[in-house]
C-alpha cells in the first residue's frame, strides 16, 4: 500500500491512461472518443514529465547567482572576446554542477509529443465536422446503420 502512495504520480498516470482508453473504446460518439484519446495521450505527457524529476532537483535553469559566478570567472578571460560567450556558459555550468537539476530532456521530448497530439486532435475534429456534414450525425452506431442501408440499396439497384 505504501508503495502506491510513494509513487502516487504513477498511480494517477495509470488511472488516467485507463480512463482515456476506456472512453475511446466504450463511447460511440466521435467527439467523446477524441476526448478519451486526449486524456490517454495526456497521461503519457505526465509519465514523461515525472520521469524527468530527480529528488531534490532544481528546475534546470541557471540562477542569477550561477550566472554571476560564471560571468566573474569569464571576466578574467575577457581579453579573448571571441570566446567570451562560450566562457560565460561554460563557467556557469561549472558552478552549476554543484546544484542538482531535474532532467530537462523528457520535457523537451514531450513538448514534441504535445505538438503531435494537438495536430492529431485537429485532424480528428476536422474529420468529425466533415462526417457530420456527410452523414448528419456523429454517433458511430447511426453512421454504421446509414452505411448498411446504402449498401442494401446498392445491392438492390
Amino acid at each position: 500500500m505504501s508503495t502506491i502512495f510513494e509513487h502516487y504520480n504513477y498511480a494517477i498516470i495509470i488511472i488516467l491512461m485507463m480512463t482515456g482508453l476506456y472512453v475511446v473504446f466504450a463511447s460511440g460518439n466521435m467527439i467523446k472518443k477524441l476526448v478519451g484519446l486526449s486524456v490517454f495521450q495526456t497521461s503519457v505527457f505526465l509519465l514523461y514529465i515525472s520521469m524527468g524529476k530527480i529528488t531534490g532537483g532544481q528546475p534546470p535553469i541557471l540562477t542569477k547567482a550561477d550566472m554571476e559566478a560564471g560571468a566573474k570567472a569569464a571576466a578574467s578571460h575577457a581579453s579573448d572576446i571571441s570566446h567570451g560567450a562560450a566562457g560565460v556558459s561554460e563557467h556557469a555550468l561549472q558552478s552549476a554542477s554543484e546544484t542538482i537539476y531535474s532532467n530537462p530532456l523528457p520535457h523537451v521530448l514531450i513538448l514534441t509529443a504535445i505538438v503531435v497530439g494537438v495536430a492529431t486532435l485537429a485532424i480528428g475534429l476536422a474529420l468529425v465536422v466533415r462526417t457530420r456534414e456527410a452523414y448528419g450525425t456523429i454517433e458511430e452506431a447511426e453512421i454504421d446503420q446509414l452505411d448498411y442501408q446504402r449498401n442494401q440499396e446498392g445491392e438492390g439497384a
Partner: protein, 516 residues
C-alpha cells in the same frame, strides 16, 4: 560497383539527411503552391531525386558497409544520428521507387478523385507522408522514429479522408485509422519512455549498448518491449490489430491506397525488426518467447483469418486489403522464426509483396477510373474492355497466389524452406492452405473478368476503353518487376540475405561509431 562512381560526392556524404530534409521543405512550398500541375511536378521530381539518393546509399552500403550521419555535426549519443545499413537501405529505395511510380499514376487519377482546389495541398500531404516514411526508416534515434511515424501517420489520415469525394465512408475510415493509429503511436512512445528510464539515452546504438550491460532482467525493459511491440503491431496491421486497414485501403483515393499498401506497413515492419533484433536482443528469453508465440503465432492466425475474410468480401479493394493483412502474417511468421533463413524469407516477402500489391491496387484504381468498378461482380468482361490493365492485374494476382515464375513463389518457397528447417511442419501446412485460399479470392476476380462477357449498356456490350498511358506505365513496371523478381531472384534474395545478416548479428553496438 561501377555505378557508384556516377554519384556526386555530396549525394553520398549527405544522402541520409537530404532524403528527409528535401521532401519536408518542398512539402511546405507545395502546400502554398496554387498550381496543381506544378505541385505534381514538384512531388514527382522530389520522389525521383530521393530515389537517386536512396540508390546511391544502397550501393554505398553494399560496397562499403553501414553509413552513420551525425545531424548538424552533433556527435551521437547527444545529437541525432542517422544510420543506414543493409537492413534499411533497401526499404528506402523501395519507398522511393513506389513513390516515383504512384506519383506518375496520380496525374490522371487525382484529377478524377480529388476536388480541384484541394489537389495542390493533397500533393503536399503526400510529400509529408513520404518524408515521414523515409525519416522513420533512416533515423538512428529512437524518439526521432516517433516523430516521423506521426508525421507520416497524420498526413496519411488526411490522404485517406480525401477519398470522401468518391465515397463518404472514407471519412469514418480515416477517423478510425486516426484513433487506432494514435493509440499505436502512444503505446510506442510509452515504450520509448520506459526505455529511456532504463538506459538514459535515445540513440539506438547507445540504448542497445546500455541494455547489453545490464537491462535483461529489468522489469522496465520488459515493459518497454511489450509497449513497443504492441504499438508497432498496430501500425503494421498485425492481426488482430488490423481493424483500421481494410477501411483505410478501401476508401482512400486509388493512388494513396497503392502507396500505403506498398510502403506504410513495410516501414512499420522494418521498425519492428530494428527494435526487436538490434536494440533488444533476440536471445533474451522474453524476446524469444514473444517472437515465437506472439509474432509468429499472430502471424499464422492472421494468415488464416484474414485470407478467409478476404474470400467473403464484395469490394475489390477490401479483398486486397484483407489479403494484405494475411501477407503481413507471412512476413511475421518469417520474422518469428528468428533464424537467418526465416528472416531472409520474411524480408524478401516484404519487398515482393510491396511490388505485387502496388500493381494490384494500381490496376483496381484504373478500373474505377474508366468504369467506376468497385465490386468484384462488376469485373465481368474486363479482359475484353481493359485487356492491358487486366493482364497486369492477373500477373500480380498470380504472384500473390505464389504461382512458380512469379515473385510471390520465390518468397513463399523461401518461407516454406525456413519453416521446414525449423521443424515447423504445421507452418508449412498453413502456408499451403492459405495459398489455396488466395487462389479462391484472386481466382474469383479473374474468373469474372475472363469467362464473362462485358455488361450491356443500352443493348450493346461495353466497348474497349483502356486505361490512360500514365496509369498503365507504373502498373506494368510493377507487374514486370514481379515477374522479373520471380525468374531472377538473385538480386532481391541477396538484399534480403544481407539484411538478415545484420539482424542475426544481434544488437548494433557503437563499435561502428568511429570516434566513440
Amino acid at each position: 560497383m561501377g555505378l557508384l562512381s556516377y554519384f556526386p560526392e555530396w549525394v553520398l556524404t549527405h544522402g541520409p539527411a537530404l532524403i528527409v530534409v528535401l521532401p519536408l521543405l518542398l512539402a511546405v512550398i507545395t502546400a502554398l503552391n496554387p498550381s496543381e500541375k506544378l505541385a505534381w511536378l514538384t512531388a514527382w521530381l522530389t520522389a525521383l531525386f530521393c530515389g537517386v539518393v536512396a540508390l546511391g546509399l544502397l550501393l554505398q552500403v553494399i560496397s562499403h558497409g553501414a553509413i552513420d550521419y551525425a545531424m548538424g555535426g552533433w556527435q551521437p549519443p547527444i545529437g541525432i544520428a542517422y544510420h543506414v545499413d543493409a537492413l534499411n537501405a533497401p526499404i528506402l529505395l523501395l519507398v522511393c521507387v513506389i513513390a516515383i511510380l504512384v506519383t506518375l499514376y496520380a496525374l490522371p487519377s487525382v484529377v478524377a478523385e480529388v476536388e480541384p482546389k484541394k489537389r495542390a495541398p493533397f500533393y503536399a500531404a503526400f510529400m509529408l507522408a513520404f518524408t515521414g516514411l523515409l525519416g522513420m526508416v533512416v533515423t538512428g534515434d529512437a524518439f526521432n522514429v516517433f516523430v516521423f511515424l506521426e508525421v507520416s501517420s497524420i498526413s496519411t489520415y488526411v490522404l485517406v479522408a480525401m477519398g470522401a469525394s468518391r465515397d463518404r465512408r472514407a471519412l469514418t475510415s480515416a477517423y478510425n485509422y486516426l484513433i487506432l493509429g494514435s493509440i499505436g503511436a502512444t503505446f510506442f512512445v510509452i515504450g520509448l519512455g520506459f526505455l529511456y528510464m532504463q538506459t538514459g539515452t535515445l540513440n539506438m546504438m547507445d540504448i542497445a549498448r546500455v541494455l547489453q550491460e545490464g537491462g535483461v532482467d529489468s522489469r522496465v525493459t520488459q515493459l518497454a518491449f511489450a509497449f513497443i511491440v504492441i504499438g508497432l503491431g498496430l501500425k503494421l496491421a498485425m492481426f488482430p490489430l488490423h481493424m483500421w486497414l481494410p477501411g483505410a485501403y478501401a476508401y482512400a483515393p486509388s493512388f494513396v491506397t497503392a502507396f500505403l499498401a506498398a510502403t506504410a506497413t513495410k516501414a512499420a515492419l522494418y521498425l519492428l525488426l530494428r527494435f526487436v533484433f538490434t536494440i533488444f536482443d533476440p536471445s533474451w528469453s522474453f524476446v524469444t518467447s514473444a517472437l515465437m508465440y506472439l509474432v509468429a503465432g499472430l502471424g499464422i492466425l492472421g494468415m488464416i483469418a484474414a485470407s478467409l475474410q478476404a474470400i467473403f468480401q464484395n469490394d475489390i479493394r477490401r479483398v486486397l486489403a484483407f489479403s494484405s493483412v494475411a501477407q503481413v502474417g507471412y512476413m511475421l511468421l518469417g520474422i518469428g522464426m528468428a533464424t537467418t533463413l526465416g528472416l531472409t524469407a520474411g524480408y524478401l516477402h516484404m519487398i515482393n509483396h510491396a511490388v505485387m500489391k502496388g500493381a494490384l491496387f494500381l490496376a483496381v484504381g484504373a478500373m474505377w477510373y474508366r468504369f467506376g468498378i468497385t465490386q468484384v461482380r462488376d469485373m465481368r468482361g474486363l479482359f475484353k474492355t481493359m485487356p492491358w490493365t487486366m493482364s497486369a492485374f492477373t500477373i500480380a494476382g498470380l504472384s500473390l497466389i505464389g504461382v512458380p515464375g512469379t515473385a510471390g513463389f520465390v518468397s513463399k518457397l523461401a518461407l516454406v524452406r525456413a519453416a521446414a528447417e525449423n521443424g515447423w511442419w504445421w507452418a508449412v501446412g498453413v502456408i499451403v492452405v492459405t495459398s489455396v485460399l488466395a487462389i479462391i479470392y484472386i481466382g474469383r476476380m479473374i474468373e469474372q473478368a475472363f469467362f464473362y462477357d462485358p455488361p450491356l449498356k443500352d443493348g450493346v456490350p461495353l466497348a474497349k476503353n483502356e486505361a490512360p498511358f500514365m496509369m498503365l506505365i507504373p502498373m506494368w513496371i510493377l507487374a514486370i518487376a514481379g515477374l522479373w523478381f520471380g525468374i531472377d531472384a538473385e538480386w532481391t534474395t541477396s538484399l534480403a540475405r544481407s539484411a538478415a545478416n545484420v539482424l542475426s548479428h544481434g544488437p548494433i553496438l557503437p563499435t561502428t561509431m568511429g570516434g566513440h
